[in-house]
């Protein structure tokens, strides 16, 4: 299952304020992704956000089509709350209030993938099961 990453710059020295914003993030309700026609096309498997000085990166572990992630996130109310709280700390402002604006931001912030390796691509004694959603 692929990973994707986005990154953006923030004003340095506000780690605690930014951490607080993410700590209060209203998470997405469902992990399913959908294509433009509304058909289920994949899943969000996990995500994590990191900060170092003036750089924030988010890694997204998913199945399916990456383009469907931006559309899903743009439709989540928690994401818009987070964006408005984050705005004062961003080095460059971005318009994420519309789905088009959110899509533009997501594309611009996407990092280039250089390498991906996982246990799924190694021959193992037993098949990897840890990454599958368990529903618990």
């Amino acid at each position: 299952m692929p990973y994707a990453a986005i990154s953006y710059r923030v004003k340095p020295g506000h780690d605690e304020e930014i951490a607080e914003i993410f700590a209060n993030f209203k998470r997405v309700k469902r992990p399913e992704l959908h294509d433009v026609e509304g058909q289920e096309s994949g899943k969000l498997l996990g995500t994590a956000v990191f900060i170092d000085h003036d750089v924030v990166v988010r890694v997204i572990h998913y199945s399916g089509d990456f383009a469907d992630i931006a559309r899903k996130m743009a439709a989540e109310s928690g994401v818009h709350t987070l964006e408005s709280k984050l705005a004062p700390y961003l080095a460059e402002q971005r318009d994420t209030t519309t789905s088009e604006g959110f899509g533009d931001y997501f594309r611009n912030a996407t990092m280039r993938c250089i390498s991906q390796l996982s246990v799924e691509t190694l021959s193992l004694d037993k098949p990897p099961t840890a990454k599958q959603p368990t529903g618990v």
């Binding site: 990973y3 990453a5 994590a48 890694v59 990092m111 390796l117 996982s118 840890a130 618990v136």
Partner: protein, 125 residues
């Protein structure tokens, strides 16, 4: 599963050259990290490397003890070769020639995790 992020300060504009280094990366023979007594103390589930401008980040999805993961990586020939080949493209040198230096650099360049949501919790809604 936890994910760690390790950042590298790189010179911008060398994505293809750095990509080439990774294309030839000799991956560890096993994802299992074993302690001195041979028992599994950690496991590397996946790694991914991304670049944007002057920032490169290596994400490591793992189980167990992250310091053991760092020690394991320090001993891998593929990782040691990578650390040598990346030197011309670093804007900030990394002291990774010795296992001790590698583990220290790994720890120092570990980014602070602000949030981590796994599939189990996402599914739980």
């Amino acid at each position: 599963m936890p994910i760690a992020a390790i950042s590298y300060d790189i010179l911008p504009g060398f994505e293809d050259e750095i990509g080439e280094i990774f294309a030839n990366f000799q991956r560890p023979a096993s994802p299992s990290v074993q302690g001195d007594d041979g028992a599994e103390v950690a496991k590397i589930l996946g790694t991914a490397v991304f670049i944007k401008n002057d920032t490169m980040v290596r994400f490591i999805e793992y189980e167990g003890d992250l310091t053991e993961v760092a020690k394991f990586m320090a001993a891998q020939p593929g990782v040691q070769a990578f650390e040598r080949k990346i030197v011309p493209y670093l804007s900030k040198p990394r002291d990774t020639a010795t296992p001790e230096g590698f583990v220290r650099t790994f720890t120092d360049s570990t980014m602070r995790c602000l949030t981590l949501l796994g599939s189990n919790r996402i599914t739980a809604g």
